[in-house]
Symmetry: C2
Subunit: 439 residues, 2 copies
C-alpha cells in the first residue's frame, strides 16, 4: 500500500526527536501501520544548524508553503510552539486538507475552538497527545478506553521545571532563586522560564485536560493561575512540620451542581499521597471516573524522546485511520463529538473551599496572636493548629504559621487583608492551599 507522507514545521529539539524516532524505529512503526510513515519535508527558518540527526538536505526548506502545497503530504506536524505563526500555520495546513499533529498546549488552550472548528469544516483531524504530560498517553486514554466514564476530577503535576525546582528546594533546603539559576544552567529551565514558573504552562495543560474530561469549553483567562515564585524554603519546612509536601498542582473538579473548578497553584498534599513522591522532571496525572474509580499515570512529562513518542503515537493513529479508508470522519478532537461540547460555568475562586496554611510575619510583641485569631474567628475561619518559632529578644519579626480547618477562599482573603493592616504585621501574609482528600 501507499506510504503515509508527513510534513514537519519546526526543526528544533523536539522535531529532531521525531526525525530520529521515525528513523530508528521505522520497522516498529511499519509493523503497526502496515506502511512506512515517511517524513517528506521539514520547514524551519534555520535549516543549517546541526540537530544531531542526519536528514537529506533536499528535504529541508525555509518556505513552509512547500508543505501546505504538497498534495502528497497528508499529515502536518506543528512544533514551533507559541501562538503565532503557529496558529496561522495550523489553520493553513487544515485549509489545505491535511491532518494536524501538534504539541502546542498554549495554542490549543487559547485557540483550540477555532482550530477544531476549522478541522471539522475540512473533515480533518487534530491530534495533540504531546501537549500534556510529554510521553504519558493520558489524553488518548481519556478520549479512548475511559470514554464510558463521567469524570469528577483531574489533577496532577504537569510541569517538569517547577517540579524539579520544588524537589530540589525540598531535598536540599535551598531557596527558589538559587535552584532556578542552577536549573537554567543545567537546561532544566528555559532561558526565559516565565511561563513555567508562573504556572502558565501548567494552566495551558489543565485547560486541555479539563476540556477532554468534562467535554467543555474553558475560558483560559478565567483559570486561577499561581506559580511557584513566591514559595520559600520556610514554606516548605513548615509544610513538612504539618506532614505535607508542596507541589505545583493543576486541579480540575466538577462539582455536584456541575460547576467547574479549574485552578493552578502551589498545593500542600499529605506525604501519603502518591503525588508527594513524584520528583524531579517526572509528571503524574490523576483522574477519577465514576466507573473506573481513581487512575494514575506517571512518566516523563517533557524532553525530546518522550515528546517524540507521543507525536509518533498520534502519527500512527492518523496513519491507521488513513489506511483503513474511513468514510465518515466525524469531528471529535476532545473525544466528545463537537456538537455535544458544552460550556460549564466556572466556580469563582472565592467560593472554593480548602484548608489553608497561613504564614504571618509579625513583630514579637504581646497581643499579636489574639489579634490574628480574632480576625480569623470573625470571618468564620477556625484554627486547626499553629506553629510559632522560638521568641527572640523582643521587637524582631517572627513567623506565625496557622493551619486552618476548611474555609471559603473569599473569607480567607478578607481576613488576610484585615490582618495585614495591623501595625504589628511587617510583611504581606501568605496563604498556601491544602488538599487533604484529593481524589
Amino acid at each position: 500500500m501507499n506510504e503515509i507522507k508527513v510534513g514537519l514545521i519546526g526543526f528544533g529539539n523536539i522535531g529532531a526527536g521525531v526525525v530520529r524516532l521515525l528513523q530508528e524505529n521505522a520497522q516498529t512503526v511499519q509493523q503497526k501501520v502496515g506502511s512506512g510513515i515517511i517524513l517528506k519535508r521539514i520547514a524551519d527558518l534555520d535549516i543549517t544548524s546541526d540537530r544531531g540527526v542526519s536528514v537529506d538536505p533536499a528535504m529541508l526548506t525555509t518556505d513552509v508553503n512547500e508543505i501546505f502545497n504538497d498534495p502528497e503530504i497528508s499529515i502536518v506536524i506543528e512544533l514551533i510552539g507559541g501562538y503565532e505563526p503557529a496558529k496561522t500555520f495550523v489553520l493553513k495546513a487544515i485549509e489545505a486538507g491535511k491532518h494536524v499533529v501538534t504539541a502546542n498546549k498554549a495554542l490549543l488552550a487559547l485557540h483550540g475552538d477555532e482550530i477544531y472548528a476549522a478541522a471539522a469544516r475540512k473533515g480533518v483531524e487534530v491530534q495533540f497527545e504531546a501537549a500534556v504530560g510529554g510521553g504519558i498517553p493520558v489524553l488518548s486514554a481519556i478520549k479512548g478506553n475511559l470514554s464510558g466514564n463521567r469524570f469528577s476530577s483531574v489533577f496532577g503535576i504537569m510541569n517538569g521545571t517547577c517540579n524539579y525546582i520544588l524537589t530540589r528546594m525540598t531535598q536540599e533546603g535551598a531557596d527558589f532563586e538559587d535552584v532556578l539559576k542552577s536549573a537554567m544552567e543545567l537546561g532544566y529551565a528555559e532561558p526565559d522560564p516565565t511561563f513555567d514558573i508562573e504556572g502558565v504552562d501548567t494552566a495551558h495543560k489543565l485547560a486541555v485536560l479539563a476540556s477532554l474530561c468534562f467535554g467543555t469549553k474553558i475560558d483560559f483567562n478565567a483559570i486561577h493561575t499561581e506559580g511557584i515564585t513566591a514559595i520559600s524554603g520556610i514554606d516548605i519546612r513548615f509544610a513538612e512540620q504539618f506532614g505535607y509536601r508542596i507541589k505545583l498542582l493543576a486541579i480540575g473538579k466538577l462539582t455536584d451542581d456541575r460547576q467547574l473548578e479549574v485552578r493552578v497553584h502551589p498545593t500542600m498534599i499529605p506525604l501519603r499521597n502518591p503525588l508527594a513522591d513524584v520528583n524531579g522532571v517526572f509528571n503524574a496525572i490523576h483522574l477519577t471516573g465514576d466507573f473506573v474509580g481513581p487512575v494514575l499515570f506517571y512518566g516523563r512529562g517533557a524532553g525530546q524522546n518522550p515528546t517524540a513518542s507521543a507525536i509518533v503515537g498520534d502519527l500512527v493513529a492518523l496513519s491507521r485511520s488513513i489506511a483503513a479508508g474511513v468514510q465518515n470522519r466525524r469531528s471529535a478532537p476532545l473525544g466528545f463529538l463537537d456538537n455535544t461540547i458544552t460550556t460549564l460555568p466556572l466556580k469563582p475562586m472565592e467560593e472554593i473551599i480548602t484548608s489553608f496554611m497561613l504564614r504571618f510575619t509579625a513583630q514579637d510583641q504581646p497581643g499579636v496572636l489574639a489579634g490574628i485569631a480574632g480576625v480569623l474567628g470573625k470571618n468564620g475561619i477556625s484554627i486547626e493548629s499553629m506553629v510559632q518559632t522560638a521568641r527572640h529578644n523582643g521587637g524582631q519579626a517572627v513567623p506565625i504559621v496557622i493551619k486552618t480547618h476548611e474555609a471559603r477562599e473569599g473569607a480567607i482573603r478578607t481576613a488576610l487583608a484585615e490582618i495585614d493592616s495591623f501595625d504589628f504585621i511587617s510583611e504581606k501574609s501568605r496563604l498556601i492551599r491544602i488538599e487533604d482528600n484529593l481524589e
Copy 2:
C-alpha cells in the same frame, strides 16, 4: 444514524456492571459515539436471579444462538470466563461476523492465536482491555499512543487478591492462611482462589501484556509461574530487615540478544520502588519504551465497575469504527499487524540472573554456616549479607537468612539441592528473588 446493537454472553457480576454503565452513562456514551450503544440481548443459563440491575425480561435468553443468529447485533461481549464454553462461543460469534469484546485473559493466554486468526479471516475485531489491569487502560496505550516505542520491559502487580493478602500480611504481621480465609469471607478472594494465589491469573495477564509489548506469540505453559502460598510472615519480616517489600510481580523483559524473560513469582523490591506502596486490591503496571522511557499506570485492577469501564471503552472504540465506515479493516489485535508477529525464544529460568534472599532452617550447631557458605561459594554465589536470629539453647532449628549478590538461578538451585542434603538442614530451603533495578 443507526444504533449499535450489542449481545452479552454471561450475566454475572461484571455483566451486570456493563448493563448498569450503559444505562447510567447512556448520554456520555452517546456523546462519544454519536449513536446509542444498545444492549439488545443477554444470554445466561440463569436468567432469573436478581443482578441488582433492571433489564427488560424479554431481553434475556438461555439460548446463546439468539445472539449469534441476530443480524442486528454487531458486537458480542463474552463474560463467562474460563476456557469452555467461552472459546466455542467466541469463535461462533466471530464466525457469525460479529466483533468480540472479552475480559477473558485465560482464554486469550492459551487460545489467543486461534481466536485472532479466526477474527482475521472474518474481518472482525477482538478487543480485550478488561483482560489486564481491570479499568486501567494499559493495553490501549501499548497498542495505541505508545506504538512508536520498542519496549524493553513490562512488569507489575496484576492480581488484586494476592496483593490484598500480601498487604495484610505485611501490615498486620499475619500469616497467609489466616488472611486468605478472611479475604474469602470478605469477597476479596474467590471461593476457589487457586488461579489467583498460585499465580496463574497473573501469568495469563503477563502472556497477554508481553505479546502486545513485544509483538510475539508466547507459549503460556513455558511461563515460570509461582504464587504466594509458600510466603510466610517470617519471609516478609526478613525482607523488611533487608529494606525490601515482597510483591507478586509479573515480569517481562526483552534481553539484548532478543530473548524473552517471562516470569511470575514473589519478588523483593526496594521500599523506594513505587510498586512497594501499591497496596490492597490496586494494580500497577510499569512499561519501559526506548523513547517514552518509564511509564507507570495505577488503578483498580478488578471489580465490577472498573472492569465495566474497560469493556465499555472497547465497545466505544468498536462503535466509532463501525460508525466511521471503515473500508479496510486490518487485523492487528496485538497492535502489530498479524503478519509481523514473531515467536521470540524464551530465556530458560535457569539462566535468569537476579540476587536472592535464601532462607535456611538448620539445627543450631557448629559448622552449619561453614557448610552453607562452602556450597554457595563452590557454585559461584557470593554472599552480600546475612541475618541469623538469636541462638537457642542448642539443638533447635533456627532460620539463617542470606542475601546474595547477583547469581544465575541455575547455580542457586544446584546449591540449594546440595545444602538440603545436609543432615543439619531440617526444612526445605527457600529462595525469594530480588529485583533491585527493575526498569
